[in-house]
Amino acid sequence: MVARRRKRAARDAEEGIPSPPGYSAVPIKFSEEQKASHYLYMREHRVRDGAKSSWPQKRTLFVLNVPPYCTEECLARLLSPCGPVQSVELQGKPELTESPKEPKSKFFHPKPVAGFQVAYVVFQKPKGVSAALALKGPLLVSTESHPVKSGVHRQGCREAGGGGVLPGPWWISDYTDSVLDPEALRVEVDTFMEAYDRKMAEEEAKAKEEEGVPDEEGWVKVTRRGRRPVLPRTEAASLRVLEREKRKRARKELLNFYAWQHRETKMEHLAQLRKKFEEDKQRIELMRAQRKFRPY
């Protein structure tokens, strides 16, 4: 395997790093000490016609296979020689459809553990994208001028720019982050609930307003809040209704009245017996297979 590896390395040197069509591959390593490197696969961010994207066309670089120790800040630093970087966003999966992004609460949605990620890097100018695609690498995540620690000793660069960075090892800083400020939590809960209550109240008011008022075609919407509450529209309720109907029909129906009915029931009975017989046969077969009649 080592020989193969060497061969591959030699070939890489000759032909350049193989990359999938449309992408360019840039090697990335944690530091100088590592011998092997991962490869970033980059291309310009494009969307199909008609689809919208939250990232600006032309200026956005789409990066695949970002290793877990490479944070947003690191990536920004590594790509800054190509041109000023406006923003970097790391995600678990490439984004397929545009979805409205809400800022997620750190209290209720703890950040998941990072694996290999994809990145959307927005440069300030379109030139940055082409410069990045032409990078030769290898990029180094941790250098002497910007040491990055990992494992127990990794620096907490998670809240970089946030100001309140707690120095300390990575897992320790994670733990420190998990000790949250209850006051902030209270504030967040209060604001959310206020908004929620307001929304509910609005909806209720709107429903009240609409109640009994026919729309332009003359239909009146019947709601739960009316004078005579109707059945809730749930699956369970509709199943109950169906069941009741069925029972009612069964009571009315005449069984074994016509000759064909007689015939059919008999046939059905026979078919069922046959089926049961087959099942039993299979079961006995299975039991035979399981039982090893050899006590010791």
Binding site: M1, P18, P20, P21, K29, F30, Q34, K35, A36, H38, Y39, Y41, L64, N65, P67, P68, Y69, K93, P94, F107, F108, P112, V113, A114, G115, F116, V118, S150, G151, V152, H153, R154, G168, P169, W171, I172, Y175, S178, V179, L180, D181, P182, L185, R186, V189, F192, M193, Y196, M200, P232, R233, T234, E235, A236, S238, R283, L286, Q290, P295, Y296
Partner: protein
């Protein structure tokens, strides 16, 4: 004579193998006749018994001749008659030991009057066999000619003949010499008679005061047994002769006895006894000849379960001859009485009372099982072996056996020794078991003993000595309710029984004054915890054996609490102990009243909070939106913390999902739950506005945590109250599974439930009362249970009826494909097996089954080894050679390092104080760097590899590449994790970037990882 023998063989349609044997036997006679004419002409010229110079060099006398001098003469004459006796003739032989018993009737001419005395008959019998052995060994027909003992009785050797080569294990012919009919006068061999004179045996004249010679009941019985071989086989063949059902029944009984190890050795409840018992039940019309095998088995078990032969003996003799001895006479001499049709021979002479009680116990258990309508009754009754180590809670070995000789002298057992011909193990067994039974009293349910197996030896060797025959093994079945007491209460001091009590307990007996004012003799044992109390029998046994039988502690090898050491290391987790963190060891976070780990110190101790689920009362005020409910819950958590701090002064820390509360060094994690939340999470709105309920991962998780887990915990708590050994078994099981690095696949609850199954469905055993036996049965269950075709039904609180169980089984078969590989059904969870939903995978389960099957025999062998178990942790060490990459961790950052199987001699200080500390800051909770590291590895490389780790202080992570991960596949933007593009045959494909990944392992765990060992010879990219 030869002709009759041949006819007999032909009648029973023997195969060619047996015909060979027949020829062999006939050949002996030919050879013997020649010998007769030229060697020994008349008895008067024949040598004395003590003159054994005529014996050829290659053969030794198969008998210990102690004392050597004995009167009488011996010469060899061909047998007067050769008859096949025993089970082969009756057609009730069972595999794998197919024995053909052949009785050789010695001719009258070689026996003398008074041969019944002083072992003369046995000496002659042995010499007769030695002569036969010499000639048969020269015959090329036989593959092996060896000696053994008849039922382990060392005065009665027999000769084993086996065919050549691969037929060797097919059949064994056993030759039993026996005296001519009517040679011995039966009245001389009654149990009250003496046939071994003290003057001869002990080499001293009897005391002159005319005290009678002690009776030798066992010796007499052994002589009588030889005379009765033919009449027994006749009786059995008339009873069983034509009734197929009876034969089936006898065969079933033999299997039943064999599975319980009851039929082995001297004093075993042999298959022959079972046949005679059937004959007895036929004669008293409890069994009819038309009954089926099952009915016979049932009737015999019922009879055994309800009849105590140690008190009320039975007899096959129905004549009212007044010259016959009464049953009471036999009860005086033997513990168990079952007379044959002559009325003079006790068939159960060698059976000890404890063996019979064991038979009774087993019969009772089996009757319960037969009555319980369990659908796998057959399997449990007849197909499950019950070796002693797995059936009894504690095991003890007495070794070396020579100590028992001293014990016999101490217990003054000379008459018994004389009776047993110097077999001190048999002589001491009865008194020793009685002693221990009395001493253990209410702690003991059943005491059983197992003799070493009957040995075989080559004809050129001396018979094995008593002391070389291994060890005497005793099994204790404990009574859990009796185990909790540390006190043996004796009589009041002024009662006459007090002296007996003092004599029995020796120096341990003390006068004590009790709360009710009584002053009594009492013995108090030192035991603090439950696990120590469970080992009080050990103290009792060693004390009593040393006191009364001169057996020092070094000779008693007690196997009861050896595995406890493995789970006591887990004390930091269970049972929970209070923690008092040292403040200087941690970083402080005063505004949140919390302690934090410090980067320059080793990782602090692992503190796992105990989760409390707090259900709030239902109310219409709750919002009907999942996100809003979470906010309201968070508000409750905050309020709870506030109130607990204000009103009770407790240190609290609230988060969005739970509130941690510190109380007296314990940390509780309170989770507020709202009953309707899972329901709301399940609601889905279809495009038409219809609301339907669908399980979602979030709703299932919530339901599990807040609904099913509390139910399960309370059920298991109930079980623990009933069976105090449960927690020990469950902890050992978890410890073992995790030590094998498979802990990730099995949830706590699933292993708890498997352990619970051992207590709720112990058949054919009784519920375990010690962690050791429970763990052995756990391994047995895991390795033999057919997970593919059966659900493991754990009937907590006995809520499932038999009909419901049948329904569950049929439902299981119908939906097998959708269910997880390991299905555990409880009354609360009848369909889904929620605790095994997310694992294990089939491969992991298979690995566990293989490991359990490997571990069980190793551990059992260690525990049954009388010289000591060796290293008991062997089976807890994982095999590491199967992994592709090993990641070695540094102990500095393993918080549970001290819980490791091989407890490290030195580890790091984890910042805990022994005494309660001054103030109260929240300790570091659940901070475990190896687990964080694993989570990161699984997230990043979970597609490519599996990671195995022992969370209880393991120092190594095993990595196994997934078999599919090295297959190249085409480029996909969504699946580039850790892979790289290479061109293969002009095509661009992706393969894992193994070199970079291996370096990543070290990078991600910097500080924690000591070394990454890649065994690159195991894989190719």
């Amino acid at each position: 004579m030869g002709k009759t023998c041949l006819q007999e063989y032909q009648e029973f349609g023997f195969k060619h193998v047996d015909i060979l044997y027949l020829r062999g036997v006939l050949d002996i006679q030919g050879t013997c006749s020649e010998r007769q004419s030229n060697q020994y002409v008349s008895l008067s010229l024949s040598p004395q018994l003590t003159d054994q110079a005529w014996l050829p060099a290659g053969v030794r006398v198969p008998l210990h001749q102690v004392p050597y001098t004995v009167k009488g003469c011996f010469r060899f004459l061909p047998p007067a008659q050769v008859t096949v006796v025993g089970s082969y003739l009756l057609g009730t032989c069972i595999r794998p030991d197919i024995n053909v018993d052949v009785a050789l009737t010695m001719p009258k001419e070689i026996l003398q009057d008074k041969d019944g005395l002083n072992q003369r008959y046995f000496r002659k019998r042995a010499l007769y066999l030695a002569h036969l052995a010499h000639h048969l060994a020269q015959d090329p027909l036989f593959g092996s000619v060896r000696f053994s003992y008849t039922n382990g009785c060392h005065l009665k050797p027999l000769l084993l003949l086996r065919p050549h080569g691969k037929d060797e294990h097919l059949v064994t012919v056993r030759l039993h010499p026996c005296p001519p009919p009517d040679f011995f006068r039966p009245c001389r061999l009654l149990p009250s008679k003496n046939n071994v004179r003290s003057a001869w045996y002990r080499g001293q004249s009897p005391p002159g005061d005319g005290s009678p010679e002690p009776p030798t009941p066992h010796y007499n019985t052994w002589v009588l047994q030889d005379t009765a071989l033919q009449s027994h086989v006749q009786l059995l063949s008339t009873v069983l002769g034509s009734a197929l059902g009876l034969k089936d029944g006898v065969a079933l009984l033999k299997v039943w006895l064999r599975q319980r190890d009851l039929d082995k050795g001297l004093g075993g409840f042999s298959g022959f006894l079972a046949s005679m018992l059937v004959a007895f039940l036929v004669s008293i019309r409890k069994i009819h000849t038309t009954m089926s095998g099952y009915q016979v088995l049932r009737s015999v078990l019922q009879f055994l379960a309800t009849t105590d032969l140690t008190v009320n003996g039975i007899s096959l003799c129905f004549s009212s001859d007044s010259s016959l001895p009464a049953l009471a006479d036999f009860h005086q001499s033997f513990p168990v009485v079952f007379l044959d049709s002559s009325g003079r021979l006790n068939l159960c002479a060698d059976v000890t009372a404890s063996t019979y009680h064991q038979v009774q116990h087993e019969a009772r258990l089996s009757m319960v099982l037969l009555d319980s309508k369990a659908d796998d009754g057959f399997q449990l009754l007849l197909m499950t072996p019950k070796p002693m180590i797995r059936a009894f809670d504690h095991i003890l070995h007495l070794c070396p056996l020579s100590r028992l000789q001293a014990a016999c002298h101490r217990l003054k057992l000379w008459p018994e020794l004389q009776d047993h011909g110097g077999d001190y193990v048999s002589a001491a067994l009865g008194p020793l078991t009685t002693l221990l039974e009395q001493g253990l009293g209410s702690r003991l349910h059943l005491l059983a003993h197992s003799r070493p197996p009957v040995s075989e030896w080559d004809i050129s060797q001396d018979p094995p000595k008593h002391r070389d025959s291994g060890a005497l093994t005793l099994g204790l079945l404990l009574r859990p309710e009796g185990l909790t007491s540390v006190l043996e209460l004796g009589p009041e001091a002024d009662q006459p029984e007090a002296a007996d009590f003092r004599q029995f307990w020796g120096s341990r007996s003390e006068l004590r004054r009790f709360q009710d004012g009584a002053i009594r003799e009492a013995v108090v044992w030192e035991a603090g915890s439950m696990s120590q109390k469970r080992l009080i029998p050990h103290q009792v046994v060693t004390h009593l054996l040393a006191l009364h039988a001169d057996i020092p502690e070094t000779c008693v090898h007690y196997m009861g609490g050896l595995l406890d050491a493995l789970i006591q290391g887990l004390k930091e987790v269970f049972p929970p102990t209070p923690v008092w963190p040292a403040y200087s060891f941690h970083k402080h976070f005063p505004e949140r009243a919390s302690l934090l780990p410090r980067p320059d110190k080793p990782c602090p101790a692992y503190v796992e909070p105990m989760t409390v689920v707090c259900h709030l009362e239902g109310s219409g005020q709750w919002p009907q939106d999942a996100e809003a409910i979470r906010r309201v819950r968070a508000a409750f958590q905050l309020r709870l913390a506030e109130l607990l701090t204000q009103q009770h002064g407790l240190q609290c820390r609230a988060t969005a999902t739970h509130t941690d509360v510190l109380k007296d060094g314990f940390v509780f994690r309170i989770r507020v739950a709202y009953q309707r939340e899972p329901q709301i999470l399940k609601e889905m709105r279809s495009p038409e506005g219809m609301i339907s309920l669908r399980d979602t991962p979030a709703s299932l998780r919530l339901e599990k945590e807040t609904k099913q887990l509390p139910l399960l915990t309370s059920a298991l708590h109930g079980l623990q109250q009933q069976h105090p050994a449960f927690s020990g078994v469950a902890r050992l099981a978890k410890r073992w599974v995790r030590a094998q690095l498979l802990g990730e696949g099995f949830t706590d609850e699933s292993l708890d439930l498997v352990a619970a199954a051992l207590f709720l469905h112990p058949e054919p055993f009784t519920p375990p009362s010690s962690p050791q036996v429970g763990f052995l049965r756990f391994l047995f269950l895991v390795s033999t249970f057919d997970w593919k075709n059966n659900p493991l039904i754990v009937n907590l609180n006995n809520e499932l009826t038999v009909e419901e169980q049948v329904e569950i089984r049929s439902g299981f078969l119908a939906t097998r494909k959708q269910l997880p590989v390991m299905v555990i059904i409880t009354p609360q969870d009848r369909k889904n097996s929620i605790w095994t939903q997310d694992g294990p995978s089939p491969q992991i389960l298979q690995q566990l089954v293989v490991l359990a099957a490997e571990a069980l025999p190793i551990l059992e062998k260690q525990l049954m080894d009388p010289r000591g178990p060796g290293d008991i942790r062997t089976v807890f060490r994982p095999p590491l050679d199967m992994y592709d990459v090993l990641i070695r961790l540094s102990p500095r950052h393993i918080p549970r390092h001290r819980q490791a199987v091989d407890s490290p001699a030195a580890s790091f200080c984890r910042g805990l104080l022994r005494e309660p500390g001054p103030s109260s800051l929240m300790p570091v909770l659940g901070y475990d760097p190896p687990q964080l590291y694993l989570a990161q590895l699984r997230e990043a490389y979970g597609d490519l590899a599996l990671f195995f780790y022992d969370q209880h202080g393991g120092e190594v992570i095993g990595v196994l590449w997934k078999p599919t991960s090295f297959q190249p596949h085409s480029f996909k933007a969504s699946n580039t994790k850790g892979r790289m593009v290479v061109s293969q045959g002009g095509e661009m494909v992706m393969v894992p970037n193994v070199e970079a990944i291996l370096e990543d392992f070290a990078v991600l765990g910097e500080g924690l990882v000591r070394a990454v060992e890649a065994r690159s010879e195991r894989w190719t990219v």
